[in-house]
Amino acid sequence: MAILSVEHLQKVYTQRFGGVQTTALRDVSFEVEEGEFVAIMGESGSGKSTLLNILATLDLPTGGRVMLNGRDTAKIPEKEAAEYRRRNLGFVFQDCNLLDSFTLKDNIFLPLVLGGENHRTMQQRILPLAARLEISHLLDKYPYEVSGGEKQRAAAARALITAPKLLLADEPTGALDSRSSDRLMEMFGEINHDGQTILMVTHSARAASAAGRVLIIRDGMLGCEVSREGDRESYARRIADTLAAVGGGKIA
């Protein structure tokens, strides 16, 4: 069974005054199987962040539905939404992922603290994760004392420490140079290899080539899909070509 299934999702933003409407998502349907690594690409303004926010239960769709682990996310009562997010989802964003007032370690502990875990469990969980993401030596530093790539790895650790069903990432490499970006994608690949389901929005074909499957959104609809075949280089080239063709307006 698919861990995530998105059915005819629609999102129309209505301005509070004047009633000007923006259709961010027209009709989007896709499924993600457990253990998959899926990338979502598309032009700026095509509705990627909107999609991710709805999946994250931070926003509600105006049509269609999202089933996560067999449960309709729109039917989760307001009161439980925060806890549901904490238990089932992990987030990594482009930037502003970490609180400046906490060390990396405390930032990573944050969702566990909010979930009422005890300190020993936290300590046990962080060790392998920090080692895997190679930030063990940075845990006592503050966010402004480490590099952008290191910050994103800490954000990934925070997202993963609850062992979420689904890891959502919105342009996690957006603020990184190509080397740090490659490192982060390499680690996402490894984590996925260990069984973590990942859904990631990105603008970079190179980053997307870490995923097993790439969905391309255009004008609020799914344009087409590219699956991994051949080596990394040719895969990335195929993604870029498809993107150019779709983005160029040939497919409506």
Partner: protein
């Protein structure tokens, strides 16, 4: 004209950041108006040719000097606070290829405009309110009730020169700051408060020792000569101690809380403690200043009330009224001055903290903190930050009662119970005013944090 573009940019800047400039403008104008009124009464001829006018006038003159010192100090303080917050903006100018000398010119024109506005508004308000204030003074001092209020040109020159000088120095300081630093440094310097606090334990210990010493001096004061001699040293000790304690003491206490893993990694405490440590490192001096200002308001007002009402039963000669009416009058003005500054500092703190916290709370929501808990956390943090100064100020005021009683005793046989009644009444009214200020400004926090 070569200056026109800089002037225009300066105007745009001030309009854009009006949320910080308007309060600044209002507060500076209030200070300017107070100074101009006091200067006019002290220098003008309105009072001096009345009976006992000379006594009142020398009181006002002395008060004016002290007021000049405080006003200058607070104008510098607020200016440096504002300019620090704009570091990132100046850095951005640099990155956009705007040279340092060009940025300095913009800063110069901002200073000129502020100066003109503040002096203009201050003199205007001073002129409009001067008559009413004069009436109040003659009522309090029982001077000739039918004398007329006139504006002395000398007092206007005095006010213009004083505020002109303050703005000149502030503008030079601002231009120097822009000139001295490189773009990247400027971009980063807004974060400098995030450095680790140094020498926490020694600060806490020094603060405690100084405060204990000052309290002991005050409470053990046995005669008025001793109290008069040691009053200002004790005040200085309290000021130093407050600053050390707010930084050292608060971080030390929070550090201890943090050391207990069970307490710290608890969902109720984790975010507030982290936020508070961060805040304290950044804002200890601001909070200490709020605390000191509050203490000054409390002590000044309770002391003058005690003098006036406690003395009323003691004597009723003309000289008595001239003196104590003058004191009451000055006390009233100092209270306005301190309150204006306090409100301004609290307001700026709320706005800047709200802005800083916006992203943090957005992140906490995403990570799975529900709205109720976000609100709770905000309240916990903001309450502790803003009510700590009030509580400490009340403690300072109570401790000062020993010395104040002796000093009051030096002037007249004043019953100590008057002082306590006055302290109690003043503290109650002040707490209400403080809460109102807090409520009004916390709105600024929430709008900034949304």
């Amino acid at each position: 004209m070569r200056n026109a573009p800089y002037l225009r940019l300066a105007v745009t800047n001030m309009l854009r950041s009006r949320r910080s400039y308007i309060p600044y403008l209002i507060a500076a104008s209030v200070m300017c108006a107070i100074c101009s009124i006091c200067a006019n009464l002290a220098m003008g001829s309105s009072i001096s040719n009345m009976n006992y006018g000379a006594t009142t006038r020398s009181m006002l003159e002395f008060g004016l000097y002290i007021m000049v010192i405080f006003t200058t100090f607070y104008m510098f303080y607020i200016n440096s606070f504002l300019i620090k917050r704009r570091a990132r903006e100046f850095g951005l100018y640099g990155v956009l290829g705007f040279g340092r000398s060009q940025t300095a010119r913009v800063v110069f024109w901002e200073g000129v405009m502020l100066c003109v506005l503040v002096i203009g508004l201050g003199l205007l308000v001073g002129f409009l309110l001067g008559g009413a204030v004069f009436k109040l003074l003659i009522t309090l001092t029982h001077l000739a009730p039918d004398s007329r209020y006139t504006v002395a040109p000398a007092s206007m020159y005095f006010t213009v020169i004083m505020f002109g000088a303050i703005f000149l120095l502030n503008t030079i300081y601002n231009m120097f700051r822009v000139w001295k630093s490189r773009p990247l440094e400027l971009m980063k310097s807004e974060r400098s408060g995030e450095k680790k606090a140094k020498a926490v334990a020694p600060r806490a210990i020094i603060g405690l020792l100084l405060l204990g010493g000052a309290y002991w001096l005050s409470l053990s004061a046995a005669d008025s000569a001793f109290a008069l001699l040691l009053f200002w040293p004790a005040v200085l000790m309290v000021i130093l101690a407050t600053h050390q304690l707010f930084l050292g003491g608060s971080v030390a206490i929070l550090g201890l809380m943090k050391r207990s893993k069970r307490f710290y990694y608890n969902r109720k405490n984790f975010v507030p403690i982290g936020g508070l440590i961060y805040r304290m490192k950044q804002n200890a001096s601001g909070l200490a200043n709020i605390c000191i200002l509050s203490t000054m308001v409390l002590v000044t007002v309770s002391m003058t009330l005690a003098l006036y009402f406690g003395g009323e039963s003691a004597g009723s000669s003309g000289d008595f009224y001239a003196l104590f009416g003058g004191i009451l009058f000055m006390g009233f003005f100092f209270a306005i001055l301190f309150l204006t500054n306090m409100t301004l500092i609290i307001y700026f703190k709320q706005v800047s903290e709200g802005t800083d916290d916006r992203e943090n709370f957005a992140l906490l929501r995403r990570v799975g903190m529900d709205e109720k808990m976000v609100k709770k956390t905000i309240n916990k943090q903001v309450l502790i930050v803003f009510f700590a100064p009030l509580v400490v100020a009340l403690a300072h005021t109570c401790a000062s009662s020993g010395m104040l009683n002796q000093i009051l005793g030096a002037f007249l046989y004043c019953n100590p119970k008057y002082l306590w009644v006055c302290i109690g009444g003043t503290a109650a009214v002040f707490a209400v005013v403080y809460c109102v200020v807090y409520k009004l400004t916390s709105h600024a926090y929430y709008t900034a944090a949304k």
